[in-house]
Each structure stands twice: as structure tokens, then as C-alpha cells.
């Protein structure tokens, strides 16, 4: 029925507006025509309208978004974007793609993707927004006004100089929107922009989208969440590559005959009654033994000011289910990691599955602790956030077998557990497939099976349904019900209320690492809603506060204002020449210059000391070594074979000081120079090499993107190491083959993760119209050597000359 559906269902008023995209009879296949992701689909997008495309995973909605944004061309049919025919049929040559027309059209189309982090290209908010306009060769003068304007549209104007990699997902997604808006698009295509955000973040995006359309930008919003379609002007429902419904949201969302809409009933959790008998079960278990018990547990991350968890108490009886709710960053994941002994608390006691993990009862002897940890791995299963990132083996069955195998079960036992886990999750038919060929939802199920196969008594899950479609969510909920019936204790962190209500015996609400409410689910969830409501009311007030913070910012120091090229070259020279220091005069000179530089930087000594403290320990060790191996000069003292001499002391001091000079100069350079400035400086200094055919612009971009992805990959490596450790895989112990296997189970997912980010990133670069040397990019930041820079270079040159020429006199 749907293939023939055309725009006739659209309200007539829309026809009067200009069309920014027109697709007719478009078909798309990923496998050369065996199956069709889009099947003779026709649609239009009108200027200034807010169009929502709804559909389940696999309905073809992302493919449609990709075609609308000009990133992909269909196999058949005609595409017209921003008034240009980009893909069309000719009578003699068949389908034709006009890449130049596509290129022009893409300059007016913005695209925002699901993963907020992978769309960030640099480490300063305003530079990130400027990336698109730079690629469009917009003059610098114009960028200076359009970048702040775009940030204002997404309420980030007060955070222009912040580091986006440290922002929340919701803020990052708003930044991605701003990066697109700064390019002044006629149409924005957003592919599930809220899928990885919490409720508050989604709401922010939603309200920005509504504002955009009033400014004349067409918004195409692709989503599987019905709630996000309500504010649209028009809704299209996609199923199996066809449009199955189209019209105003109030007409569409109430229809009962649209299969794609029935997957997830849109109901308010608070009005739902509990399953019968659930309450009696809670009381019946009251006297059972505690599976998880935390008393006064606090935890803070290394180098972090505030506590991630503060004085948390909880007690969960065997067989019960606990839901941990709270906003992003409230401490939910940290609590899950502590329960699985993947991190140790600063204070308080933890007992899990009968094993004391922290507190006075924790065994002192190392071998006992190791034994306890081994028992814990057998008893406790951990499903990390986005657990599909841990998959590594050639086949699904092999991956699921990894945990049971590590726990030392024989081949038959392993097979039995793998089969059982696959049956529980309904993925038996995937056993011999590669986990990397599966859909996102299937991969999630396989990863969970890999934990369930270890038959844990306690299962800890961290936001297990995040960004899944309703069908996959439902399957996971069924699994949890079955495990609950089998007597498995469950701890799950979540911000989707329905799951918490349906399954939990008790619920814990965390806010800024503290327990805000703990008790029966209905009460705690109600408290959570009150929290979110007051939060929304305070939104206006925080905007003002941020503006005040902005006003409080200190002006940049002398050193921070210098041209980064001047700093980079002189600092590196000063660092390398530190090894040439060998007399007291040279040493004093170098120390004086370093102190002077620190003064000019008004450098926060504490943060620099903090960043170099690891090296200071190494330096002391080296000093001790030098003290004892050098035996020149006067003898001062001797203990057995160790002789202390004046020469030894001088050498120890000299070498330690050289080392210290280098470390401190390096730290000062990094502290006063943003990564963006550093890359700009590298690009400028390397540019002569481009005459030799070396792609210096591209290399500079590679370096800049790499620096920006360090924190992302660092966190991911850590998470994978922990997840595999929870499945009993460790490089530090076991036989050689076990260790090798553990190394593979970590490295393969780490590489897979890097490639996944690369894939998203390349699409984000395309969406921002990066074309390398083909375009004449303009620059948001100007590098210009001023008088101050020349003076600085001259002073540093005098110092370097004095240092190097000193031995001659």
C-alpha cells in the first residue's frame, strides 16, 4: 500500500512553500539489490518546515537522512536538493550523479548525527564552530560575528572558550548544532540527535529545533521516539523502506493501525500500577541475607575536586532488584563500578556476594584479596554502558564463551552456558555470525549474553537500554524478568523510568554523588520528577549565572597571548639545550629564565605541580642513582659499598635540575597554549615542507583531531579493560596463552572502537564540508608575529646563545 503513497497526504498549505528537497521513486540497497533499505520512496521537504521521520531500527530512516543530506546517492530514482537536480535518470545512460551539484547542495545542508562526541573536531568551543565556515571560505570578519551568533542560538555563548570534550552529551550535541548553524544551512538533517542524551538533554535539543524553523531553516528530525514528533509540523512514518503514514502529528500519533507506532506504548510511568504480587515479594525478602551492602561509601576521581560519591548507603537482599536513577554525571556508573570491584572507594565499606571488598573486614593479605577477587568475578556479572564495545571474537558463540572459559569451566560446561545464554536472549541463530556484522541492537544482546553466560548471582547493568529501539529494550526486559525468577540479584542504573518501575523492588536516586532518595520505586521516581521540574524552572537563572562567570574570567597572561609559533620553537630549543647545562653559572641562568617565564605566565603552580608529580618521583630516583654511581671529588661519607662524594652531590643536583627544567618548561608550554594554537603553529611551521609534496595541512588536521580524541579513547580503553576483567580476562595473571588471549580481547575492541569513531568523524567532516586542499580555507584565528613576539624571541635567543657560548669563555 505504501509504495504508491505520495505527497498528496500532506496538508495543502505546505505546497505553497518552496521545496528544499525532493525525492521521487528513490530506492537504495546496501547489498547490490538483494534487499532494499528504501523502496520506491517519494517525499518532499519544504522550506522552513519541521519534519519528523519516525521508524524503528532497520526501517531505512538513517539511509533516508543520508540521502537528504547529500552524503549518499540512491541506486534508483531522482533526487533534487536545494533546488539542484543531483541524481536523475537519463534515457540513454541510466542513472546519473552530478557530483558538482551535490557539492554545491551540501554547502547549504547541515547534518547532525547521533553520537555527540564524534562530531567535535577541536578542543575549543568557538574554534569548533568556526570549522565549517572556514571550510566554506567565509571571510574572517564575517566569522567573527556568525560564530558567536550560532553559539547564542544554542545557548552556549558563555562557553565560547571551554573545552567541548569535557562538556555533557547534551551540551556537545548543542555545539554540533551550532557548528552546523554557523554555515547558515537552508535545511538541517538530524539523525537521532537525542538518542544518547538524558531526558533533560533531549528536551534542550527539542526546544532549539522548534526555534530554528521559525527562522526559516527546514528541519528534518529522524527519531524513534514518538514524544519528539509531537512538536513537528509534519510526520512521516517509515517501515521497511516505505512511507506507511504521513500527516500532522495529532493525526498520525493517535492512529492504531500503523505497525511501526505500536512497538512502544507511550504511557506515563507514574499512572501505571505495579504488577500484582510485587509488593508482597518485597516484604517477604526483608529478612534474607544481603547480596550488596554499602556503608558510608565515598569515592572521588584522581585529580577531581568534588566527590563522585559521598556517604552512600544501601542494602540489597539476594534475589531483589535495585534501580539506580539520576541524571548524567550523578555517580550512577561509579557506584556500579565500585560494586563490581573495578574501583576501590576512598572510605566506607562494601560487601558484595558475601565478599568484603572494602572496609575493616577486607583481608589484608594480598593472596586472600586476589582469591576474593576471583570469587567475585564468578559471582558478579558486569554489563558496562554500551557493552557492544567489548565484543572481539570471530563468532558470536566464541565471544560469549570468553567469560565461562576464563572462569575455568570445561568445554562441555562452557558450551552449555553459551547455549543457555543465547536462548535466554533469543539470539541462537546468530551463533556463527561475526559480532561485527550485526546490527547495534543485536550486538548489545550478544554482549549481554557474554556476561549472563558466566551465571552470576548478581548482575550489575549500567544503562543497558541506552539508545536502543523499543524491540531490543523489550527483549532485555524479558531477560531480566527471567533472571529475576531464577533468583539472580539485579542492580541496574538507568534514566528511563519505565524499566525502573516495572522491575525494581527498590530504587536509589543519586544527585551529585549523594543519595537524594532511597526506598520504594514509586516514591523515588516521583522525587526524581520533582527534581527535573525544579531544574527546568531554574534554567533561566543559570543563564545569568554563567554570564557572571564569564565576566569574572581573568585576562590572558603575557605568555598566553604570545604567538604560539614563537613559544613552540623557543621552548623546544630551551628544553633540548637543557642537556648542555654543565656548570653552576649555566644552571643559575637557566633557572632564572624559567622562573621569569613562570612569572610572565602567572601560571597556576599547583595545577602544574599536579601534572608533573609523576615525573618528580622518577627524578628523585634518578638523583639517588647518580648520587651513588658518581665517585669523583671529596669523600664525605661511606656506608659499606655506598660512597657519598662532593662530585656525586653536584651530579645529582645538576641532572635533577636539568630534568626538572625540561618538565616544567614543557608543562608551562602546554598550560599556556591551547591544542588548537599548537596545531596552528605546527601547520604554519611545517608549511615550507608542502613544497616537497608533503600534505602539511592534512597532517596538521590529523594531529589536531588526534589530540581531541585522546580523552575519548582513553576512557574507552579503560572501560574495555574493566569489562574484560569482569569477565575474568587479565593480562597480569595466568598462563602465557591466557594472557595473550586477554590481550587480544582488549586490543581488538580498542581498534574497533577507534575505527567506529573514525567512521563517524569522517561523516562529520563531510557534513562540515571539509575538502582539504581543494578549497581555499579561511582562518578564524590569525597567526601574526607582533612586537611582543619579536621581543620574546630575541630574549630567548640571547639566553640560548649565552647558555651555549658560556663554555668558550
Amino acid at each position: 500500500m505504501a509504495a504508491s503513497m505520495t505527497e498528496s497526504a500532506v496538508p495543502a498549505s505546505a505546497d505553497s512553500k518552496a521545496t528544499v528537497a525532493r525525492l521521487s521513486q528513490v530506492s537504495f540497497s546496501y547489498d547490490g539489490g538483494q534487499t532494499w533499505a528504501l523502496d520506491h520512496l517519494s517525499m518532499e521537504v519544504h522550506a522552513g518546515e519541521h519534519l519528523c521521520i519516525l521508524g524503528a531500527n532497520g526501517s531505512g530512516k538513517s539511509t533516508l537522512g543520508s540521502i537528504l543530506s547529500g552524503a549518499t546517492a540512491p541506486d534508483q530514482g531522482q533526487v533534487e536538493l536545494m533546488g539542484r537536480a543531483v541524481c536523475f535518470d537519463t534515457p540513454d545512460q541510466g542513472r546519473q550523479i552530478d557530483t558538482e551539484a551535490y557539492r554545491q547542495a551540501r554547502r547549504s545542508i547541515g547534518m547532525v548525527f547521533q553520537n555527540p562526541e564524534d562530531q567535535i573536531v577541536t578542543t575549543v568551543v568557538q574554534d569548533d564552530v568556526a570549522f565549517g565556515p572556514e571550510n566554506l571560505s567565509i571571510p574572517r570578519q564575517k566569522m567573527l560575528s556568525c560564530v558567536p551568533a550560532a553559539l547564542k542560538q544554542v545557548d552556549l555563548q558563555t562557553q565560547m572558550n571551554d573545552d567541548p570534550t569535557r562538556m555533557s552529551g547534551g551540551q556537545q550535541q548543542r555545539l554540533a548544532l551550532a557548528g552546523s548553524l554557523a554555515m547558515n544551512p537552508g535545511m538541517m538533517v538530524l539523525d537521532e540527535p537525542g538518542a544518547m542524551l538524558d531526558a533533560a538533554g533531549r528536551q534542550e535539543i527539542q526546544s532549539i529545533l522548534c526555534r530554528l524553523t521559525t527562522q526559516g531553516t527546514a528541519v528534518v528530525h529522524i527519531t524513534h521516539l514518538l514524544e519528539q514528533a509531537r512538536q513537528a509540523d509534519r510526520v512521516l512514518v517509515l517501515d521497511h523502506g516505505r512511507i506507511v503514514a504521513s500527516g500532522r502529528p495529532d493525526q498520525i500519533l493517535t492512529r492504531k493501525d500503523v505497525p511501526a507506532l505500536i512497538g512502544k506504548p507511550d504511557r506515563n510511568p507514574l499512572t501505571q500500577s505495579r504488577a500484582p504480587g510485587a509488593d508482597t515479594k518485597t516484604t517477604a525478602n526483608n529478612h534474607a541475607i544481603a547480596m550488596v551492602k554499602l556503608s558510608n561509601v565515598s569515592y572521588s576521581f584522581p585529580n577531581a575536586g568534588s566527590k563522585a560519591l559521598n556517604e552512600v548507603n544501601l542494602e540489597l537482599a539476594a534475589g531483589q532488584t535495585l534501580a539506580i536513577i539520576g541524571r548524567n554525571g550523578s555517580g550512577k556508573s561509579t557506584l556500579a563500578r565500585l560494586i563490581c570491584a573495578l574501583a576501590a572507594p576512598d572510605s566506607g565499606s562494601i560487601q558484595v556476594a558475601g565478599l568484603p571488598l572494602a572496609g575493616p573486614n577486607r583481608p589484608k593479605a594480598k593472596h586472600l584479596r586476589r582469591h576474593n577477587l576471583k570469587l567475585l568475578r564468578q559471582r558478579v556479572g558486569y554489563v558496562m554502558q554500551y557493552p557492544e564495545h567489548q565484543l572481539f571474537a570471530d563468532t558470536v558463540a566464541q565471544d560469549i564463551a570468553y567469560g565461562p572459559h576464563n572462569l575455568g569451566y570445561g568445554p562441555e560446561q562452557v558450551q552449555h552456558r553459551v547455549d543457555d545464554a543465547m536462548k535466554l536472549l533469543g539470539i541462537g541463530d546468530l551463533a556463527d555470525r561475526s559480532p561485527f556484522d550485526l546490527s547495534g541492537g543485536q550486538r548489545r544482546l550478544v554482549a549481554i549474553a557474554g556476561v549472563v553466560a558466566c551465571s552470576p548471582q548478581l548482575l550489575v547493568l549500567d544503562e543497558v537500554t541506552a539508545s536502543l529501539d523499543p524491540q531490543a529494550c523489550a527483549r532485555i526486559m524479558t531477560l531480566l524478568r527471567v533472571l529475576h525468577k531464577r533468583g539472580v540479584t539485579i542492580v541496574m542504573s538507568t534514566h528511563a523510568d519505565r524499566e525502573a518501575l516495572d522491575l525494581a523492588d527498590q530504587t536509589l536516586l543519586l544527585e551529585h554523588g549523594e543519595t537524594l532518595a532511597y526506598g520504594t520505586t514509586a516514591e523515588v521516581v516521583e522525587r526524581y520528577h520533582r527534581l527535573l521540574a525544579t531544574d527546568a524552572a531554574e534554567k533561566g537563572a543559570t543563564g545569568k549565572k554563567a554570564e557572571r562567570d564569564q565576566a569574572d574570567q581573568k585576562p590572558l597572561s603575557l605568555l598566553a597571548r604570545l604567538d604560539p609559533r614563537a613559544k613552540l620553537v623557543t621552548f623546544l630549543l630551551a628544553m633540548f639545550t637543557a642537556f648542555a647545562i654543565s656548570t653552576p653559572t649555566q644552571l643559575v641562568l637557566a633557572l632564572m629564565v624559567t622562573v621569569g617565564l613562570f612569572a610572565a605566565a602567572r601560571a597556576p603552580l599547583r595545577s602544574i605541580l599536579n601534572s608533573v608529580k609523576g615525573f618528580l618521583a622518577l627524578m628523585l630516583l634518578l638523583a639517588l642513582f647518580n648520587l651513588l654511581v658518581t665517585q669523583t671529588g671529596r669523600r664525605l661519607a661511606a656506608w659499606g659499598p655506598f660512597v657519598l662524594t662532593t662530585g656525586g652531590i653536584w651530579v645529582a643536583v645538576l641532572y635533577a635540575c636539568r630534568f626538572m627544567l625540561i618538565i616544567f618548561l614543557g608543562a608551562l608550554l602546554v598550560e599556556t597554549t591551547t591544542p588548537t594554537q599548537m596545531t596552528d603553529a605546527c601547520e604554519s611551521l611545517l608549511s615550507p615542507l608542502s613544497r616537497l609534496g608533503i600534505h602539511t595541512n592534512e597532517i596538521a588536521l590529523v594531529l589536531s583531531l588526534a589530540l581531541r580524541f585522546i580523552p575519548t579513547l582513553g576512557r574507552e580503553v579503560q572501560a574495555i579493560v574493566e569489562a574484560q576483567a569482569a569477565r575474568g580476562g587479565s593480562i597480569e595473571s595466568g598462563s602465557l596463552s591466557q594472557r595473550l588471549h586477554a590481550a587480544i580481547a582488549i586490543t581488538v575492541p580498542v581498534f574497533a572502537g577507534a575505527l567506529r569513531h573514525a567512521d563517524n568523524l569522517s561523516r562529520a567532516l563531510d557534513a562540515r564540508c571539509y575538502e582539504g586542499s581543494r578549497q581555499q580555507r579561511t582562518h578564524y584565528r590569525l597567526l601574526r608575529l607582533g612586537r611582543m613576539d619579536i621581543l620574546f624571541i630575541a630574549l630567548m635567543a640571547v639566553y640560548l646563545l649565552a647558555l651555549l657560548l658560556h663554555p668558550l669563555f
Binding site: G70, D394, F579, I699, A706, S762
Partner: protein, 201 residues
Amino acid sequence: MSMPNSHSHTTANKDTRFNDVHSTGAGGSGRWSTKRIAVYALFVALAMVLSFFSFPIFPAAPWLKYDPSGIVVLVCGFAFGPAAAAIISILGFVPHLFTNPFGALISMIVALALSVPAALVYRRMHSRKGAVIGIVSGAILGVIAAILCNVVITPFYAHMSMAKVVAMIVPILLPFNLMKFAIHGVVTFLIYKPISTLINK
């Protein structure tokens, strides 16, 4: 098990992965495709991240530490050729320039000695055997480069003559570096097949 084919990108024009039926010219119009830039960037970031995950493996010399970044440059060389290996080998250690300038230079030289020859051999012999020969020859050159660099640099940090450092080669530097490159090689050999499948997807 045979090593699957991987694309060797010697020049941008051979960047064929985007020239399929669905290409709209996006990502492929620069000298380097955006895909290539993104993959290089993530491999550089991975080398940087892993270079900080260092730990001692040789009890006799706890100051010599193993870090897995060598695996990244080897894999990159196999997948994208010697030029890519060189870029990752150099850029991957840039952050260390600001904490340990000579150490960073040594790391770059050793990574180049390891990955570029391995990538060159593998490009000629695109098979499992070629991978083994590539890894072994890269490892031999890497060990030699590491030892030579250590002899030169150690006197900068410790008050020792070069002769004393040379005396350390057989008991300390050689066994440590053999261990290090053996781990690099074995892990790379085992993970390259699944990873190249992912790269070529």
C-alpha cells in the same frame, strides 16, 4: 588463515573506498579523503593513548617500560602502507616532546624502524608469510635502533660513560627489547586479521 587484502594507499587518487555506486563525491574531493584523515587521526590518538599505558616487563630494569603503541604503528602500516606508518610513528609521540624530548625522539625513531620496513615487506608480499617476514624484519631493525638510541641517550640522564652503557646491552637492553618486540609482533599477528576485516568494511 590468510591475510586478507587491504588497500594500499600510495596516492590519494587510489583512495577507492568511496567510489562506489552511492558516492556523491563527499569525502573524496581533497588530496586525502575525509575517511583517510579520520582513520589516521584516530590511529594517532590511539598510539598516543596507548603510549601512556606503560608498565615494566623486565624485572632487572624497571625503568625500561613496555607500552603497546608499537602494535598501532604495525597495524597501521599493514593496513595503509609505509607512508601512513611513518605519519603515525611520528605524530603518535608528539605529546611526549613536552615531557621527555629526547625520549620522544627515540620513540619516533624506533617506531619508524619497526613499522616502515614491516609495511614495505607486507606491501610486496601480501600474505600471511609476508606479514611474518615483515614483522620479524621490522622487529630486528627496531631492536637495533632501540639499542643504538639508548646508548646515545642514557648518558643524558645518568652520569655514566657510553662504555658503561654499552656494557649493559647484553644483560639488559637486548633482552628487554627482544621481549618488547616479541609482544608487539605476536599480538599484531593475531589481531591483524579481524581488524583488517573491520577496516575494509
